[in-house]
C-alpha cells in the first residue's frame, strides 16, 4: 500500500499546485483587471480611505478632506465650491472625478511615483498615506470679481499672466457646487447629478476651456491684423472699406454693425478699421491676404492645438479649405472659426507679451505632506506668435480701440488699456455672443483676459463693447490692485 500512497502524495501536490496557480492568477496576473472592475468597491474605498491632499488657492485650501464616520473615512469638502468648480472639478463616489480632482488624482491621493519616498516613510512610521497639496495659479479675488461680474449670465472669463502663462482666473457660468456631488449619500448624489445634467444651460460644462467652442467674432480681427502686419502692412495702410462688401460667388453681402458705413470715402487705415471694428475692411483684407496666411497666423496663436493645463482644453478650430466668401466671413471671426475663451485670452496675452505666447497653466506648485516641493511649473514659451515690432504696433492699435473706439467701456483712468470687442453672430434667429479681450497696462501688462457673455440680446447694448467690456474692466482693475499690493 506504500506505492499508491506515494502516488496519492503526488496527486495532492498537483491539487495544491492548481490552488497556488489559481491564487497567483487572481492576486498577481489578473489582479489589475479585477481591481479596475467597476463593481470592485474596494479600489474605491481604498482611494477614498486615503487622506487626500488639498487644492490650494492663494495659499489657502479651498478643497480639502475631513475625517468622516462612514466607510469612506474622509469627506471631500469644498469651500466656495461654485466659485472654484471650474478648476477643482468634483470628487464623487458615484460619478468619479473631474477637473483637477481628476487630472491631479495621483498626486492628491498620494499614489504618484513622486511621492514614493513619502509613502515609504509613512510605511515605517505607521502613518497613513497622505496626498500632496496642489497649489493653483488662481487668484481668489480675481476669480471672485469675474464671477460677480458675470452674475447669472451664461459665459466665461479667463485671465492670464501674459509673461508666464499662469491662469489667474477661470470662471464659467452657470456653475455648480461640487459639495453635493461629493456627498456619501448615493441617492442624493444621483439626483443632484441628474438634475445638473438635465439643465439646458449646462452647468457642468467648463465654458472657459471646453464644451462648445464659440465663434470669436470681431476679436478674431486681432489675428487678421497680426497677419497683415507680418505681410508688411502698417497701422496706417489704407484698406478698402465699403458700406457693403459683396461676397464672391454669392448674392450675399457683408455689412457693418448697424449697417453703417465705416468711412465716408470707402477707405480707412488698418488702425481705424480695428478701432471701430469695420467688418467690410477686414473681410476684404482677409481675402487679399489669402487663407494660407491667416491660417498660419491663427496657428501661431494656438489654434488647432489641444492643451492640458492640466485640464484638457478643446482645440480651437479653423475652417478647412474655405472658398473666397468663406475666407471673408472667417476674417471677421464667423463661418467655421471657433475659439475657447482661453484661446482668445492667449491671443491677448501673446500680443501684450511682445509677441511671445506662453503655455497656459493652472497648477503652480505641488507639495508633499511634509511641505517639501515636489514640482513647480516653469513658464514655457509655446509659440513666437509675432515679432516684437509687429506686437508693438498691434498693442498701440488695441489701445486706440479702448481710448477712442468700440471698447471705451473698458477704459481705466490713469492706465493704458489695450482691448478688442467682438459680437459674434450665432445664427439668423439667435442673439449674438458678446466678447471682449484685453490686457493692461498696455506697456507692460500684468493681466490679459477674454470675456464672453452668451446670447446677449435683450440686454442693454448687446455688443461686446457695452456688455463684455465692463466685466473686463472690473477684472483688470482688481488685477491692477493686486499688482500694486505686490500680490500678482
Amino acid at each position: 500500500m506504500n506505492e499508491p500512497a506515494r502516488r496519492l502524495t503526488v496527486i495532492v501536490l498537483l491539487l495544491f499546485l492548481a490552488l497556488m496557480g489559481a491564487a497567483s492568477w487572481i492576486q498577481v496576473i489578473n489582479a489589475d483587471d479585477l481591481n479596475q472592475d467597476p463593481r470592485n468597491v474596494r479600489t474605491l474605498y481604498r482611494e477614498y480611505g486615503n487622506f487626500r491632499g488639498p487644492i490650494v488657492v492663494d495659499g489657502e485650501a479651498v478643497v480639502w478632506s475631513t475625517p468622516s464616520d462612514d466607510s469612506f473615512n474622509y469627506q471631500r469638502t469644498y469651500a466656495d465650491g461654485p466659485l472654484f468648480a471650474s478648476a477643482s472639478g468634483f470628487y464623487s463616489i458615484v460619478y468619479g472625478r473631474s477637473g483637477l480632482e481628476q487630472t491631479e488624482n495621483e498626486l492628491l491621493s498620494g499614489n504618484a511615483d513622486e511621492l514614493f519616498w513619502t509613502r515609504l516613510g509613512n510605511l515605517f512610521s505607521g502613518e497613513q498615506q497622505q496626498g500632496a497639496a496642489v497649489e493653483t495659479t488662481l487668484k481668489g479675488s480675481l476669480q471672485q470679481v469675474a464671477a460677480e461680474q458675470l452674475g447669472d449670465r451664461a459665459g466665461a472669463v479667463v485671465a492670464l499672466d501674459p509673461e508666464t502663462g499662469a491662469i489667474l482666473a477661470m470662471v464659467t457660468s452657470p456653475t455648480y457646487d461640487p459639495t453635493v456631488l461629493a456627498s456619501h449619500d448615493t441617492g442624493e448624489v444621483n439626483s443632484a447629478y441628474e438634475e445638473l445634467l438635465a439643465r439646458e444651460d449646462g452647468p457642468l460644462i467648463n465654458r472657459a476651456i471646453g464644451g462648445d467652442t464659440y465663434p470669436p467674432g470681431s476679436t478674431f480681427k486681432l489675428v487678421v491684423s497680426a497677419a497683415a502686419l507680418e505681410a508688411g502692412y502698417t497701422p496706417d495702410t489704407q484698406l478698402y472699406a465699403p458700406q457693403e462688401l459683396e461676397l464672391p460667388g454669392t448674392t450675399a453681402t457683408i455689412g457693418n454693425y448697424g449697417g453703417e458705413a465705416c468711412a465716408a470715402d470707402g477707405h480707412m487705415s488698418l488702425q481705424d478699421a480695428l478701432r471701430i471694428s469695420c467688418n467690410t475692411a477686414f473681410a476684404d483684407l482677409g481675402m487679399t491676404l489669402g487663407w494660407g496666411v491667416l491660417e498660419r497666423k491663427a496657428e501661431a496663436f494656438g489654434w488647432g492645438e489641444p492643451l492640458d493645463i492640466p485640464l484638457p482644453v478643446t482645440a480651437s478650430r479653423l475652417p478647412e479649405d474655405p472658398n473666397e466668401s468663406q475666407v471673408a466671413m472667417s476674417s471677421i471671426g464667423q463661418y467655421d472659426v471657433r475659439a475657447t475663451p482661453l484661446q482668445m485670452a492667449m491671443v491677448a496675452a501673446a500680443i501684450g507679451n511682445d509677441g511671445t505666447l506662453m503655455t497656459p497653466y493652472l497648477v503652480d506648485t505641488v507639495r508633499a505632506p511634509d511641505l517639501k516641493v515636489i514640482s513647480t511649473t516653469e513658464p514655457e514659451v509655446m509659440r513666437e506668435s509675432m515679432t516684437r515690432a509687429d506686437s508693438d504696433d498691434l498693442q498701440d492699435m488695441m489701445v486706440e480701440v479702448v481710448s477712442n473706439g468700440s471698447g471705451r467701456a473698458a477704459a481705466i483712468s490713469g492706465v493704458e488699456v489695450a482691448g478688442k470687442t467682438g459680437t459674434a453672430e450665432t445664427g439668423r434667429d439667435t442673439p449674438p455672443h458678446a466678447w471682449f479681450v484685453s490686457f493692461a497696462p498696455a506697456e507692460d501688462p500684468v493681466v490679459a483676459l477674454a470675456v464672453i457673455v452668451e446670447e446677449s440680446a435683450g440686454q442693454t447694448g448687446s455688443t461686446g463693447g457695452s456688455l463684455a467690456a465692463p466685466i473686463a474692466k472690473a477684472v483688470m482693475q482688481e488685477a491692477l490692485r493686486l499688482d500694486a499690493e505686490g500680490d500678482l
Partner: protein
C-alpha cells in the same frame, strides 16, 4: 522473510520544541499586529494570550514526551501556527465588522475557546488511544456513527438550514456541524473495511482496455457510498461534504487496492451524478453558473456569484504582499471569518501569505502520508493516508472554491475558519495522526503486540 534494516529514528522532541517556539511567535506577533492596527493593543491582554499559548504548547509537548515520544515533531507546530494565524485573522475581522459595519461580533474570543478545547481533545485522544490498531475493532460502529452523523441534519426538529445548506444541527441552543465529525468516523470505517476486503476488491474482475475492472458484485460498497454522497448533495445541499466524502473513499480505495480502475469508475460515477444533479436541481445549477460565469454581469447581479467575486476582488486588492493585517476590507465579503477566511487572508497577507498557508497544509498532509508509509499495519496505513487525504481534499475543495478552481461549496478551512465543530474535529485528526506517527517511527521491537 526478508530482514528489515533498523533505522535509528530520532525522536525529534527537541526539534518540536524549537518549531513550537516559532509557531508561538507567529501566534503572538500576528495578534499583536492586529491589535496594534486596531488601536486596541493592551500589553497585559496580549501577555495573557501569549502565556496561554505557551502553557498549552508546553503541556502538549510534555504529554507527547511521556505518551507518544516518537510522534511526528512537525505536525503539532504546523497546526498551531495555522490555528494562530486563523485566530488573528478572525479577531481582525471582528474589528473590521465593528469599524465598517457596526456589527458587534466576538468570533475571535469564541474561536480561542474552541481552539483550547480542540487542543485538549487532541491530547485526550493521545491519552485514551494508546494504540491506533484498537480502532479497527470499531470499524462498523464507526461506519454507522458516521452515517448517522451525516444524516442528523435531515432529522426534523434537530436539523437547521442555514443559507440553503442543511448541514447543521441545533443542540442546547448551539449549532453543530456533525459532518465534520462524520468525516473522521468514515475514514476509520473505510480503513477497517478496506483492509479486510482489499484482496477481493483488488484482484478479481474483467479486463477492459488493459485495465482490470471490478466485478459488478464487488461494486456494492462503491455504489452505496456513491448513493450516500448524492443524497448529501441533494438533500442537505452540501456539495462540499458530498465531494469530500466520495473523494476520501476513492482515495482510500486506491491506496488499498492500488487499482486505478477503481478511481476511473468512481470518478465516472461522480461525474454522472454531478452533471445529473446540475440538470435536475436548480440550486446545484445555480452553483455551477456562479462558478463558470462568476464575472458575467447577469450572474453577478442575480447575486449568485456575489460572494465569490467579492472574494476575488479582495484577493486581487491584496496582490503579491497583501494590504497588511488591518489594512484591507475583508468585511466586504459575506462570511469573511468562516467560508471565506482564505480570501480574507489572501487580501491582507497577499499571495505570499497564502502560499505560506498552503505550504503549511502541504507539510501536514505530506507528514500524514509519510506516517502511512512508515507504519507497519495495513489499517494504520489506510487510516493515516485517509486522514491526510481527507485534509488535503478539504483544503482543495474550500480553497479551490474560493479561487474558482472548482464550484464554490460550503466547507470549512481546517484550523483557520471560524467554527467550533470544524476546530474540534480537526484537532481530533491531529491527535490521531500523532498517535499513528508514534507507532510508525518506533522500531519494530518496541511495538507491542
Amino acid at each position: 522473510m526478508a530482514t528489515v534494516a533498523e533505522l535509528e529514528v530520532r525522536a525529534g522532541r527537541r526539534a518540536e520544541l524549537g518549531l513550537l517556539t516559532v509557531a508561538w511567535s507567529i501566534i503572538v506577533l500576528s495578534r499583536a499586529l492586529v491589535d496594534y492596527h486596531a488601536d486596541f493593543l493592551v500589553l497585559s491582554t496580549l501577555g495573557w494570550y501569549a502565556l496561554g499559548a505557551a502553557v498549552l504548547m508546553v503541556a502538549c509537548h510534555i504529554i507527547l514526551r511521556r505518551y507518544a515520544p516518537q510522534a511526528d515533531p512537525v505536525l503539532l507546530p504546523a497546526v498551531f501556527a495555522l490555528n494562530g494565524v486563523g485566530l488573528a485573522m478572525i479577531r481582525r475581522i471582528d474589528f473590521a465588522y465593528a469599524q465598517y459595519r457596526g456589527r458587534d461580533t466576538d468570533f475571535g474570543t469564541a474561536q480561542i475557546g474552541w481552539s483550547i478545547a480542540g487542543v485538549v481533545l487532541a491530547m485526550v485522544v493521545i491519552l485514551i488511544i494508546r494504540d491506533h490498531r484498537k480502532l479497527r475493532r470499531f470499524t462498523y460502529t464507526a461506519g454507522i456513527v458516521g452515517l448517522v452523523l451525516y444524516l442528523l441534519p435531515l432529522v426534523p426538529g434537530l436539523g437547521v438550514e442555514i443559507n440553503g445548506a442543511r448541514i447543521w444541527i441545533s443542540v442546547l441552543g448551539r449549532s453543530l456541524q456533525p459532518g465534520e465529525f462524520a468525516k473522521i468516523a468514515m475514514v476509520v470505517f473505510f480503513a477497517g473495511y478496506l483492509v479486510t476486503n482489499r484482496d477481493t476488491l483488488a484482484l478479481a474482475g474483467p479486463k477492459f482496455l488493459g485495465l482490470r475492472f471490478p466485478r459488478p458484485r464487488d461494486m456494492g460498497p462503491l455504489l452505496v457510498v456513491w448513493a450516500a454522497a448524492l443524497l448529501l448533495m441533494v438533500y442537505e445541499r452540501d456539495l462540499g461534504a458530498s465531494l469530500l466524502f466520495f473523494g476520501i473513499f476513492l482515495g482510500m480505495l486506491y491506496v488499498a487496492t492500488q487499482r486505478i480502475s477503481w478511481v476511473i469508475t468512481g470518478l465516472a460515477l461522480f461525474a454522472v451524478g454531478a452533471v445529473a444533479a446540475g440538470v435536475i436541481f436548480p440550486h446545484v445549477r445555480a452553483r455551477y453558473d456562479g462558478w463558470l460565469h462568476a464575472l458575467d454581469p447577469e450572474v453577478y447581479s442575480s447575486g449568485t456569484s456575489y460572494q465569490l467575486v467579492g472574494g476575488l476582488f479582495g484577493m486581487a486588492s491584496g496582490g503579491l504582499f497583501g494590504t497588511g493585517l488591518g489594512e484591507g476590507r475583508p468585511d466586504l465579503v459575506p462570511y469573511a471569518e468562516s467560508d471565506f477566511i482564505i480570501a480574507s487572508l489572501g487580501e491582507e497577507l497577499g499571495l505570499t501569505g497564502l502560499m505560506a498557508i498552503l505550504a503549511l497544509y502541504l507539510i501536514i498532509v505530506q507528514r500524514a502520508f509519510r506516517m502511512s508509509i512508515g507504519v507497519r499495519d495495513g489499517f494504520g496505513k489506510l487510516l493515516a493516508a485517509g486522514l491526510g487525504f481527507a485534509l488535503a481534499l478539504q483544503v482543495f475543495i474550500v480553497v479551490g472554491g474560493v479561487t474558482r478552481v472548482i464550484p464554490l461549496t460550503g466547507l470549512t478551512t481546517p484550523w483557520l475558519a471560524y467554527g467550533g465543530s470544524s476546530m474540534l474535529a480537526n484537532w481530533i485528526v491531529v491527535g490521531l495522526l500523532l498517535r499513528i506517527s508514534d507507532q510508525a517511527r518506533r522500531s519494530s521491537q518496541e511495538v507491542g503486540p
